[in-house]
């Protein structure tokens, strides 16, 4: 009997894992990445002649399939430049469900942030994430799993919020529709009301306690606060720290009431304006205003200096 070497075994195992796309309009190009419930492959849409991403379940499982289909339907209702569009939903001949989406290329936010980027640039990326989440909220969808790994920065600087598998649809009346078939800390198996959905460190306290019904848009505000804290440098300015603190308050009622309110404070911080989360004294306010208008003040000072010098040296 011939023994197979390790490399051959790995190739055989990969070949067995590869989905059989016969009967679909897609041709497999290769794996892109894997998540909690499935794997994403790069495929070619042979009818339209374009590359798309195909997300497929790793196992045939009714509950996880329901979640995949729900993710697809959630994405389908969120048409926004910061959210990956879904193209198609279907089933492979082996019975596994799949959906196709825009093929997202770029790097995850954690890899992006590992490199040197000035704070304003990081905050502008944060604002793009907040914009996409605010849009989803306006459409009645909570993300519930915002973290650096679920944000992608494209090659042209586009910011995309990914992985809506734990999303909660606020007006969805179906039993278990809001994550009942989802995972406890992303592990398949724990289901139903009371399941803890999200990622520790980025998950709001009310999410950690497992009360899906108690979770509202302010849970995403908390996660965005954690993301902001993570994106900010080691020693962020006091006003930015105050914004993070307010977004991550233990009680939802103490947080920003909406993602828009949080984003507005971050924008004000970027503009050098006063932020609502950080009450400041007269001196600090004067220093901030002076810093904000330093060039104009410098030019006025130059003008006055010029006038003073003329007065000094010419006597008039």
């Amino acid at each position: 009997m011939t023994r197979l070497d390790d490399a051959t075994l790995v190739r055989l195992r990969d070949a067995l894992r590869e989905p059989d796309l016969s009967g679909t309009r897609y041709r497999l190009l290769g794996p892109v990445g894997s998540g909690g419930m499935g794997t994403v492959y790069a495929v070619e849409d042979t009818e339209l002649g374009r590359r798309v991403g195909l997300k497929i379940l790793d196992l045939e499982d009714a509950e996880v399939e329901a979640r995949l289909r729900r993710e697809a339907s959630v994405l389908a209702r969120l048409e926004h430049p910061g959210i990956v569009p879904v193209h198609d939903v279907g089933r492979l001949i082996d019975g596994r469900a799949f959906y196709t989406m825009k093929l997202v290329q770029g790097e995850q936010l954690d890899r992006y942030a590992a490199r040197e980027h000035p704070l304003p640039e990081r905050l502008r990326v944060f604002l793009r994430v907040a914009e996409a989440v605010a849009f989803a909220h306006a459409r009645g969808v909570l993300h519930r799993d915002l973290k650096p790994q679920n944000v992608m920065i494209g090659p042209f600087g586009e910011v995309l919020v990914l992985d809506w598998g734990l999303a909660k649809v606020l007006d969805d009346p179906r039993p278990g529709a809001n994550g009942g078939a989802a995972a406890r800390l992303r592990l398949p198996g724990d289901t139903g009301e009371g399941a803890v959905l999200g990622t520790p460190g980025f998950m709001a306290p009310e999410q950690q306690s497992g009360g899906s019904a108690a979770v509202d848009t302010r849970a995403d505000v908390f996660s965005l606060g954690a993301l902001l804290q993570w994106l900010a440098e080691e020693r962020p300015p006091a006003a930015l720290r105050a914004i993070v603190r307010k977004a991550m308050e233990h009680l939802p009622s103490d947080r920003y009431p909406s993602v828009e309110a949080l984003a507005a404070d971050v924008e004000r911080f970027l503009d050098g304006a006063a932020v609502s989360a950080y009450p400041e004294g007269l001196l600090r306010r004067a220093a901030r205003v002076a810093a904000r208008h330093r060039i104009a003040l410098g030019l006025v000072a130059a003008y006055l200096l010029g006038r003073g010098l003329i007065l000094l040296f010419t006597g008039h």
Partner: protein, 119 residues
């Protein structure tokens, strides 16, 4: 406020202030009112020109160069008409042009882009 409004306001205000500094020159103090009026008109003309340029260029560096040039040129004309006090008129006038250019770009609002309608 639009760029032109900001430029007119800043140019006019700085023109008034610039004119008022003539008070420090005793021999022209008696003509202060005329100097302030002339300086204000000069500031408004500079503001209008700088505002129009800023709206067209929408770039800070060219607007600063243009503002400085306009300020210097108008001040030179005044100094030539006066025939004296060249430094006292041209140096502050140039700085006023630079300040007006900067303020226009920093505090003036960009003109909204024309929106397309999909039918």
């Amino acid at each position: 406020m639009s760029r032109i409004t900001v430029a007119l306001l800043v140019g006019g205000a700085l023109g008034i202030l610039d004119g008022l500094t003539a008070w420090f020159t005793p021999e022209v103090r008696s003509q202060l009112l005329g100097i302030v009026a002339g300086s204000t008109v000069k500031g408004l003309i500079a503001g209008a020109l700088i505002g129009l340029f800023a709206r067209k260029a929408e770039r800070t560096a060219p607007t600063l160069v243009f503002g400085t040039g306009v300020g210097a040129l108008l001040a030179l004309v005044i100094a030539l008409l006066q025939g004296s006090h060249y430094l006292e008129i041209i140096l502050p006038g140039t700085l006023v042009g630079l300040l007006t250019g900067y303020a226009t770009m920093r505090y003036g609002r960009q003109r909204a882009a024309a929106s397309a309608t999909v039918r």
